[in-house]
Amino acid sequence: MKGLLFSNSHEWVKIDHDIATVGISDYAQSQLGDVVFIELPQEGSSFDKNSQFATIESTKTASEVYMPLSGEVIKVNSELTNNPQWINNDPYDKGWIVKLKIKNISETESLMKDDAYKDFVEKEAH
């Protein structure tokens, strides 16, 4: 997934100027199993990096989703409410969760690029 950044709690971020799109990685969705529900945050709410902003319910478990960057939620993917399976089927495109107005771009420095994230996942899986 070229061009994406990843957190060690398996969220991905796509940066476009001061806007970040956030979702969960393909590895994360494969660990969750079938997603059946997502509790989304309110548009306009602000979150600090690493704070919980959504909950994903899968057939197996309820998982918290954490902010990879601090900022204000300017848009939520409300279509996920009726199509939670998009998180499984298309985690990097239709399965995006929120768009964020980035508060502090320097926070991206602690995120992993795709190669580093691939290694990270391989280590975690073993």
């Binding site: 079938d34 319910e57 057939t59």
Partner: protein, 368 residues
């Protein structure tokens, strides 16, 4: 990681080959899911699903007093059975709470009891302790593999594999069939509410049977199903599961299983149970459907008019109803005949409606 101590069924390697997610279930390494829990649960209603249930405990009670002994041990009336028939039963402890639920198979010379894996040791020891002379109790769990084939297409697959048709087999009946030179037992039964079969095999023949069934099902929608799908299907059918709707804190009436208790006979726990029926236990098991999206899980509170009146015992997203459904124990008197309740999920209350069991009407073949 799975530790080495977990017991493996004869199908363990097959589960790995099919990329199952393996979990520890009652000390057994079993498949939670293969590809998708929801897809598996749909397949079992639309075509057919194959489940490895070899972890279930199998106890054989034999001897000239075996009828009297079992009849005293269980709540249902096994005098209704002729050889070749089976019946749902409960074992109660001395406080009339549920030790385990089980299926009793009435054979020509003995009784075959299928119990929950997690309760097998407990039930075996309890039976041993109650044993009377003229009764012998054997644990045959380790030599016996159990596959469950469930769904509308199941009978066609079985017909392809065994030497004669299973179409005449009635619901909750069983017979011996010949397979690859061995006798195997097939019952028309299951834990899904669909037409289906449970197949008891000696370990030596288990893998050959697995391969043959998969071959027979290749172009007919046969889907391997794990424990996740099994849980969804039993909840949709309204069936209780030990550890959720049954335990040593729950009596049969609270669990809604009064139909499996026959007061016209003697059984262990009857004295303690009598009176309960008339008084009606304080709690009852209900089914509910969420009116908004949210997943009810075991332990979540059930609310009515602002106060907590009970707890969720099981909850799922039902892929066959496309609704969030669950079971709960609630205060019978406070709820009355009201239908509108709420489920507390994390810090919010979600609207739900009390519904009658089952969520999905059974499609089993008539038994008589």
């Amino acid at each position: 990681m799975i530790t080495m101590e977990l017991k493996k069924t004869p199908f363990y390697q097959k589960h790995l080959e099919h990329k199952a997610k393996i979990v520890d279930y009652a000390g057994y390494a079993l498949a939670l899911e293969y590809k998708s829990i929801l897809g598996e649960a749909k397949a079992a209603r639309n075509t057919c699903g194959l489940f490895d249930a070899s972890h279930m405990g199998q106890l054989v009670i034999s001897g000239n007093k075996s009828f009297d002994f079992i009849q005293q041990a269980v709540t249902n009336d096994i005098s209704q059975l002729v050889p070749g028939q089976m019946q749902y039963n409960l074992f109660l402890n001395d406080k009339a709470k549920v030790l385990d639920d089980c299926m009793v198979y009435c054979r020509k010379d003995d009784f075959f009891c299928v119990v929950n894996a997690a309760n097998k040791e407990k039930v075996y020891n309890w039976l041993k302790q109650k044993k009377i002379s003229g009764v012998d109790i054997r644990d045959e769990s380790d030599g016996t593999a159990l596959l469950s084939l469930q769904g509308p297409v199941s009978s066609f697959l079985i017909d392809d594999v065994v030497e004669r048709k299973v179409s005449d087999l009635k619901y909750l009946s069983f017979e011996e069939f010949s397979f690859s030179g061995h006798k195997i037992v097939i019952s028309r039964s299951g834990y899904t509410g669909e037409d289906g079969f449970e197949i008891y095999l000696p370990w030596a023949k288990a893998l050959i049977f697995w391969d043959k069934i998969l071959e027979a099902g290749r172009d007919r929608g046969l889907t391997l199903c794990g424990l996740g799908a099994r849980d969804i299907l039993r909840i949709e059918a309204g069936y209780p599961l030990y550890g959720h709707e049954l335990s040593e804190d729950i009596d049969p009436y609270t669990a809604g299983l009064g139909w499996a208790v026959k007061l016209n006979k003697e059984f262990n726990g009857k004295k303690e149970l009598s009176g309960l029926k008339e008084k009606a236990s304080l709690q009852k098991r209900i089914g509910f459907v969420l009116k908004e999206r949210g997943l009810p899980r075991q332990g979540y509170g059930v609310f009515f008019n602002g106060s907590c009146i009970g707890r969720v015992s099981s909850g799922i997203f039902s892929p066959n109803l496309e609704q969030f459904i669950g079971m709960a124990f609630v205060d019978r008197n406070i709820l009355g005949s009201a239908k509108d309740i709420q489920i507390g999920i994390r810090d919010k209350l979600y609207k739900a409606e009390v519904v009658r069991f089952p969520f999905i009407q059974p499609r089993v073949k008539p038994s008589k």
